[in-house]
Amino acid sequence: MSATITSTTRPAPSAPLQAVRSRSHGANVLRRLLRNPVAMTAATIILLLILVAIFAPWIMPADPFATSMFKRLRPVGTPGYPLGTDELGRDLLSRLMLGGRLSLFMGIAPVIMAFVIGSALGILAGYAGGKVNTVIMRCIDVLYAFPSVLLAIALSGALGAGITNALISLTVVFVPQIARIAESVTTQVRRSDYVDAARASGAPALTIVRRHVFGNVIGPIFVYATSLISVSMILASGLSFLGLGVKPPQPEWGLMLNTLRTAIYSQPLIAALPGVLIFVTSVSFNMLADGLRTAMEVKQ
């Protein structure tokens, strides 16, 4: 580490007048992340899952919607059905591949939306402080008081089943959590001397937030949001399982887990497969978030 630093900070003899550029924080984080085997394994798995989900329509071995009453619940390894068939005789591998699209979407999209809204609210509350902070944070606390699963179910129930409504209710579940983190990190940064120095230079608040606050708070918020992806996936699966999310016959891992649960005694492996995928994906996202946190935490 020290060797690399000296080699980059010393001016190159060929260009002595060229200003030396140190590696930016982002580059340092990326470098440390790339050296973390656990995080990299997780990232590879996630990348693989995303690629499969994107290209599912072209690489699926069979039609995921073709039912057959004669080929129901075939075990794993059946010729022509590498992962067997579900309770309606549909090819399970194809359904899992296609189902990844919705499952990953429902894991990532609400978090992105909550990340944008929650960060904006939290940074506003943290930087403004005082009454603005009190108003925003108390409203957030109202939502925060509900257990997240209950809130998601209640909202989805009230809005009605469907992907869009599930997306909205999950976003509402995550906004308070992200806003709280954003607020606490921003409050810390707000008190630092470099923000005072920026204020002393006469810069307007928006400029200070943009140039001095944002870059210092977005990292921790992003890490936290990444760890929420797995929660979001599980909640979305739960909503589908309860019939509040994706509607059949659209494949989605949570919904598949629901419909296959009747087969838990006859074909336990088949019934468990969608759950295994949910588990692997959420663990991978958690590992990646962990790795990201470690990479950012290293005291520079």
Binding site: H25, Y194, D196, A197, S201, R211
Partner: protein, 364 residues
């Protein structure tokens, strides 16, 4: 403004009132930090009286040193002067114009007053290269980013950091002394007239401290700056300051030229402070502490003279009457009943000529 300005060689075009008008006049500045009431909301509302009616002036081109124990309100005063926090009452008059009034909006005032903080690390944005940190101020005031970067490079060179080597670095790659040089460069980037140095060298090694102090002296001369130099280090204050202001519990207790204050202190607190200066001469070492105990709680300061609880010469009257600020000599004053005619204070026969006692410690 009541003054005939003699056009000397290099007059700052921003100079309004001429050299005899103080650059900054601080009038009855007051800042109390309210404390939370008890959870039930009963009881009186209390507040920390961090700065409680402070008045002084900073003259053009001088270095005004501010000394006092920790918690006496030095840093709060600095932040009030910088308008990072807003005073409860009192006024700041910058070169004849009231800060915040229409004649001098906050934004314009901030171009002319800058501050260097004590903690060199936390006062630099860890995600910004130092050239960007220095260039930030000018860009805020409409300088193009190219010109601002050029100015940043010039200033970095001026404070002894070769731009080619340092400009693109991040704060964590620099030493404490180098970072404080960056902070000085940043303060100067707005071409201020007044620079507030709040314990700016206190966190540095002695050798580095000396270098930075010399740099500050050079910069002051070259850029025609005025310094408010806050420190708890009396040796450094004496070295740097033209005039010295002594604070105790949020109030000014003594003001004078450095020589007056250090050689002939007129307030018992100043005298005690000076006696606490460590001496380089083993024969001069004091074994007893000149001041005992911590300063009283600024939430509920003592009645009368705030120093009477720790003052060796306190009399009954001291706990009843709040002393006025009395001028004891030209440009030298103290807030002590000893100097206040008709205060009822009877100087005891053993009331030391404060000058003598101080002289014996000040020869360091």
């Amino acid at each position: 403004m009541n003054d005939m300005t003699t056009p000397t060689t290099a007059v700052d075009p921003r100079d309004v009132g001429g050299p005899r008008q103080p650059l900054m006049r601080v009038q009855a500045l007051k800042k109390h930090f309210p404390l939370k009431r008890s959870s039930l909301g009963f009881g009186p509302k209390s507040a920390v009286r961090a700065v409680d009616g402070v008045s002084f002036e900073i003259r053009k081109g001088e270095t005004l040193g501010v000394v006092g124990e920790s918690g006496c309100g030095k840093s709060t005063t600095a932040r009030l002067l910088m308008q990072l926090i807003v005073q409860d009452s009192g006024e700041l008059v910058f070169d004849g114009a009231t800060v915040g009034a229409r004649e001098l909006p906050l934004r314009d005032f901030r171009r002319q007053t800058q501050m260097v903080f004590q903690d060199s690390y936390s006062s630099l944005n860890p995600r910004m290269t130092i050239e960007d940190s220095v260039a930030f101020g000018p860009t805020v005031h409409g300088v193009s980013s190219r010109d601002a970067l050029n100015r940043a490079h010039d200033l970095l060179a001026r404070v002894g950091l070769e731009p080619a080597r340092f400009a693109g670095r991040y704060p964590h790659e620099l030493s404490g002394g180098q970072r404080q040089r960056v902070n000085i460069a940043r303060a100067l980037a707005l071409e201020p007239r007044l620079v507030i140095l709040d314990e700016a060298v206190s966190a540095l090694d002695k050798s580095v401290e000396a270098q930075v102090l010399n740099l500050l002296e050079d910069l002051k001369r070259d850029f025609g700056l005025t310094y408010l130099f806050i420190s708890h280090d009396l040796h450094v204050v004496r070295y740097m300051s033209d005039r010295v202001l002594v604070m105790y519990l949020g109030q000014v207790v003594e003001v004078g030229t450095a020589t007056q204050v250090f050689d002939a202190p007129r307030h018992p607190y100043t005298r005690a402070l000076l006696r606490s200066m460590p001496s380089g001469d083993p024969m001069q070492r004091t074994t007893e502490a000149p001041l005992s105990g911590d300063p009283p709680n600024p939430i509920d300061p003592p009645s009368g003279c705030r120093f009477h609880t720790r003052c060796a010469f306190a009399q009954a009257v001291c706990s009843q009457t709040q002393p006025d600020f009395i001028e004891t000599a030209a440009g030298h004053g103290a807030a002590c009943l000893r100097w206040q005619p008709g205060s009822g204070y009877m100087p005891p026969p053993d009331f030391p000529d404060l000058a003598e006692t101080a002289a014996e410690v000040a020869h360091v």
